[in-house]
């Protein structure tokens, strides 16, 4: 079964958040992730895509299936050319959760996935990359 290597979803409004996570779920299922993992992946995409809408107005989410040394996985990259994050340490500190207040919910997204990386430059934009591997 051919697996789409690269999916790019433009994020411009909240409707795109749903599209992005549905694509993510499909690819996750195609790669062979369990229903639980596919949900974690879709949830992470939802959060990252929402951050784009909330803080940058627009951006894109790239979803890719990868294989490194016979390990299959999924890589999600959420990027925007928005205001950027002033202090990355702040947003990565637990306590900056989204359970009620404002906040990027990044510690939560980090917990959902196997790998997490973030790059941000003030006034240039932000890119969050997360990965999950087939267990």
């Amino acid at each position: 079964m051919p697996v789409l290597q690269d999916i790019v979803v433009a994020i411009r409004s909240d409707g795109d958040i749903v599209a992005a996570r549905q694509q993510g779920r499909s690819l996750a299922a195609a790669i062979g992730f369990t229903a639980t993992d596919a949900t974690l992946i879709a949830t992470a995409i939802s959060e990252l895509a929402r951050n784009i809408v909330l803080y940058a107005g627009q951006g894109e989410v790239m979803i890719r299936s990868v294989e490194i040394s016979h390990r299959k996985g999924i890589v999600i990259s959420a990027s925007d050319k928005g205001p950027g994050i002033r202090n990355i340490d702040d947003v990565l500190r637990d306590g900056y959760s989204t359970s009620g207040g404002l906040g990027l919910g990044l510690p939560g997204v980090k917990r959902l996935m196997d790998e997490f990386a973030i790059e941000s430059e003030l006034r240039q934009g932000t890119m969050v990359t997360v990965k999950m591997w087939l267990k």
């Binding site: 909240d14 409707g15 958040i17 749903v18 996570r21 549905q22 779920r25 229903a35 639980t36 596919a38 949900t39 974690l40 879709a42 949830t43 939802s46 959060e47 929402r50 959760s97 989204t98 359970s99 009620g100 919910g105 510690p107 939560g108 997204v109 917990r111 959902l112």
Partner: protein, 120 residues
């Protein structure tokens, strides 16, 4: 996408379908408040069985709905959270504290009825 809201006695039941956008959720919030007022409902059940992802926005909105409906003296129960979704929610740190949850419609109704007769 409009969320169907059914009246069952003194209760309202809103059944959410998958692929609910943020705008749909906000619309639901509005519709529920309006109907609670209009029908003078005692309680609301929001059935999220079909929701395959529950993220921070959905959780926040459901909590808002619960709080707003409580102001009218009515209770809200969220039912049908899927096992995988519950798992993802707690990983993300969304515990929905202050919001009543039940397994399914039957349990949700039982909860609202107990609340109505003061047994909780």
């Amino acid at each position: 996408m409009e969320v169907p809201i059914l009246k069952q006695g003194r209760f309202l039941i809103a059944t959410i379908q998958a692929a609910l956008s943020d705008a749909d959720l906000l619309h639901l919030r509005r519709a529920l408040i309006d109907k609670v007022i209009h029908f003078r409902s005692n309680g609301v059940i929001i059935d999220v069985t079909a929701l395959d992802v529950m993220d921070s926005f959905a959780t926040r909105t459901l909590r808002d709905i619960t709080n707003m409906i409580r102001l009218r003296g009515a209770g809200t129960v969220i039912v049908g959270i899927q096992p995988e979704v519950a798992f993802a929610m707690v990983q993300l740190g969304l515990t929905m504290e202050g919001v009543a949850t039940a397994l399914d419609l039957e349990e949700g109704l039982a909860h609202l009825q107990q609340r109505a007769t003061g047994k909780i």
